[in-house]
């Protein structure tokens, strides 16, 4: 049955997360941005709510909740502070990656610590991106070479969220350079392993409260059991990881859209020009109406995609819905951020108002996990019933790099 009404449990959870977002995150948004981290207090409060773990299997300390719940909660957090959605503690993308690519033993081994005491100080990361294409072939520069029953990792990974904070991460490397995208593999690496180095933290346009940096691998030796095989079909599992993670980003983008829209709506009610509230001019009112439709459409598409995964629809259908949701929600977030600043006029440009931050965050969100362009390629390939071209769909320096 088609229904748009969340379960009672979800509604309750959503309201407690909204409470946290509006009371603990929103008032501290500028403070956190300046400090370039979320305070331990706020991280602890989020951890106590179980945020960041809810979607993980129960076996590893998660709540085993579906994506429909996850996207609703991500939207709330991001409505409080989009940066916080990327900077709170927890396994984050590392969790999704382990669930999709790792074995049950690997999930238990690496994810259990996140659920234990002090979880608010633990971060995970996925080191996927690189900053330079390999001109002569498809794939990455970072390599993994077999040595006995171990692998030696060499190279540098860029645009890694939580590069500095994570104590455990998944590193993607080429095990077969001649095989292009088919020669890609994933390994779990601990930060304290010999040879692992962290590059300087980057300062970013938006979402700067999140830690972004690079990981340098100098002859890092990992055991074969740290390799994530991705079940029978590594490429499909990899796509699932990127699609689900991108869907969570789309949910955050929806939260950002909603907040930017609400702030703009309040502003056009109160700001007067030519003797009346500016919202009473058609040029302004129609823009507000367009952005309201953006929020509504983004949320519906995100819910639709989440429901497809939860219901176990065929992979192509899940990828199609996810592609639609991601590309729409990311572009809608940028429109909403832009509109909110525009309707504030000069005031919107000032840091006294939150909208300039939302606009910067919106641009940054568009470059997280999958871009609209990549999501469009994904949706088209799924719609045409084709083998998904990884090189066009996944973030690479050959097309567009993203922050994972």
């Amino acid at each position: 049955m088609i229904s748009f009404e969340p379960t009672e449990d979800d509604t309750l959870m959503q309201s407690s997360v909204a409470d946290l977002a509006q009371k603990a995150l929103r008032p501290k948004m500028r403070e956190h941005e300046k400090a370039r981290e979320i305070s331990a207090e706020a991280r602890e409060a989020a951890f106590e709510l179980g945020l960041g773990l809810l979607g993980l299997p129960e076996a590893v300390g998660g709540a085993g909740l579906g994506l429909r719940t996850a996207v609703a909660l991500e939207e709330e957090v991001a409505a409080g502070d989009p940066g916080a959605a990327f900077a709170l503690a927890g396994p984050s993308a590392f969790g999704t990656c382990l669930v999709e690519l790792g074995s049950t033993e690997q999930q238990e081994k690496y994810l259990a610590p996140f659920a234990g005491a002090g979880g608010h100080t633990r971060f995970g990361a996925v080191a996927f991106g690189e900053d330079k294409p390999v001109v002569e072939r498809a794939g990455f520069r970072t390599t993994a070479t077999k040595k006995g029953d171990a692998w030696i990792l060499r190279g540098k990974k860029s645009y890694v969220r939580n590069a500095g904070r994570a104590d455990v991460l998944v590193v993607f490397a080429q095990v077969d350079e001649s095989a292009g995208w088919d020669g890609l593999a994933a390994f779990v690496v601990k930060k304290d392993q010999p040879g692992v180095g962290v590059g300087e933290r980057e300062t970013t346009l938006g979402l700067d409260v999140a830690d972004v940096g690079s990981i340098v691998l100098e002859d890092v030796e990992v055991r074969d059991d740290a390799r994530l095989l991705g079940g029978d079909d590594f490429a499909s599992s990899l796509l699932r990881f990127f699609a689900k993670e991108a869907l969570l980003v789309a949910a955050r983008a929806t939260g950002l859209s909603r907040e930017a829209f609400e702030i703009a709506r309040e502003y056009v009610d109160t700001r007067k020009a030519f003797g009346k509230p500016i919202g009473h001019f058609q040029a302004v009112a129609f823009t507000v109406a367009d952005r309201a439709m953006d929020v509504e459409a983004s949320r519906s598409l995100v819910q639709r995609a989440a429901a497809a995964w939860d219901a176990g629809e065929p992979l192509a259908a899940c990828l199609l819905h996810t592609g639609h949701a991601v590309s729409f929600a990311l572009e809608a977030a940028m429109r909403n951020g832009d509109t909110a600043v525009q309707l504030h006029g000069g005031a919107g440009f000032m840091r006294d108002y939150p909208v300039e931050k939302l606009m910067r965050d919106a641009k940054q969100i568009q470059l997280c996990v999958l871009t609209s362009e990549q999501a469009d390629q994904l949706a088209a390939a799924a719609e045409l019933g084709q083998k998904v071209p990884l090189g066009l769909v996944l973030p690479t320096p050959e097309t567009q790099s993203t922050l994972v």
Partner: protein
């Protein structure tokens, strides 16, 4: 309850049977109907038997709901069911949903504000259409009043127990063939909305005549008529809802209530046409842009296709939500307008892009007549039932405080 998008068994059955009909019966005749420039009467007669059986099988259920004051769509179906069916029908032929016999747009105001006698008298005639096709219609637009509905000039004045109507109505779907039209008129234009009255004018009434049948860009299988009222005299029991119901703003609200119910349906029609064009372009890409080897710029084509797909998908979900809200008794004026605005836009873009994706081939009537037909059919979906701009007025009034008018 939970958030989900799967169809019920009944809905699946409904959709599948209509898909069979559209694919094997309707779509193959679509171009011929367009060329014939008139409603596909033969086909509709064949269908009438099926409609009658559909109506009687669901009548009991819908009767109960109407007593409880819940809104029901066509044939006693729930709003959501109606949306699913409508999208499929429009996929089969863009004009067909507008040609379906029944009260049409005249239904909601009669159902919503008619007295019990009026409901029985005007809606009762549709119970049996085995002999002939029957229509109702909705006559609001005038040459001088389109979006500005409040500016209608068709006049009505009371004479004894009768009302006398004078004026012209235009662009009335099925207006010429309708057994009755809901005609909006004013007792005094200076009163604005408060002066509006809605009448049910039956075919054959003295002073009521049909003007010209319009030649249109698209939707040529739907009939659009001009209506002329010259000292058209109707008895006072033709005043919809009775005189007492016009003490408030009801008259105008009668017109508007119709739109809350019908805008999502019109959005579903648009989405059905847009989907038809989208699938056509998708199949064209599959067949012509070979993928066994690298084709230059294929990624750009993919991106165009995906943009069309996502906008249609977004519009469909917002439309479903508007229908779902109506089924659950939640006020949905804003969402109904959103669905109409998004559906119209997404579908127009779909029909334009489908031609672009196919290249100049897409404009050749010889090979791709459907594409050029949909391109002509779809434009009016951002115009009738409230233009895209009017939808934005409706939406913004519900978002911005104390916004009465611009």
């Amino acid at each position: 309850m939970t958030i989900e998008f799967s169809l019920s068994k009944k809905q699946e059955f409904l959709r599948d049977s209509i898909q069979n009909l559209t694919k094997f019966v309707i779509r193959p005749q679509s171009l011929a109907w367009d060329k014939a420039h008139g409603i596909p009467e033969t086909f509709l007669r064949q269908m009438a038997t099926l409609n009658t059986s559909m109506t009687s099988s669901t009548k009991k259920e819908s009767g109960e709901k109407e007593e409880r004051g819940e809104s029901t769509g066509n044939f006693g179906m729930k709003n959501l069911d109606t949306l699913l069916v409508t999208e499929e029908l429009a996929w089969g032929d863009a004009a067909l949903p507008l040609c379906m016999p029944g009260p049409g747009l005249g239904g909601p105001p009669v159902r919503g504000t008619g007295t019990p006698e009026q409901k029985k008298r005007y809606l009762g005639i549709f119970e049996d259409m085995s002999e002939s096709l029957k229509y109702g219609a909705y006559a609001l637009t005038e040459p001088g009043a389109g979006s500005d509905v409040a500016g209608i000039r068709t006049s009505c004045r009371k004479e004894g127990n009768d009302w006398v109507l004078n004026g012209r109505k235009c662009y009335i779907t099925n207006g010429a063939r309708a057994s009755w039209n809901v005609v909006f008129a004013t007792i005094d234009p200076s009163l604005g909305r408060a002066g509006h009255r809605a009448f049910v004018v039956e075919k054959g009434t003295n002073g009521f005549s049909v003007g010209r049948i319009e030649e249109k860009m698209g939707l040529r299988a739907s009939e659009t008529a001009e209506l002329v009222l010259e000292d058209c005299r109707v008895s006072e029991d033709c005043l919809l809802g009775g005189e007492a119901s016009y003490q408030s703003k009801e008259g105008f609200m009668t017109a508007m209530k119709t739109f809350d119910n019908t805008r999502p349906i019109v959005a579903a029609m648009a989405i059905g046409i847009g989907r038809a064009a989208y699938e056509y372009a998708r199949d064209f890409v599959k067949e012509n842009y070979a993928l066994t080897r690298h084709v230059p710029r294929v990624a750009a084509i993919y991106e165009r296709l995906a943009k069309v797909g996502r906008n249609l998908s977004a519009a469909r979900l917002v439309t479903w939500r508007a229908g779902w809200m109506a089924d659950h008794g939640i006020a949905n004026a804003k969402e109904a307008s959103m669905s109409k605005a998004l559906g119209g836009q997404a579908a127009i873009a779909a029909c334009i892009e489908a031609i672009e994706i196919c290249g100049v081939e897409g404009t050749l009537q010889k090979d791709h007549q459907l594409l050029e037909k949909w391109f002509r059919d779809i434009k009016v979906y951002d115009i009738f039932e409230g233009t895209g701009q009017i939808q934005r007025i409706v939406i913004s009034k519900r978002l911005i405080t104390n916004l009465k008018s611009f």
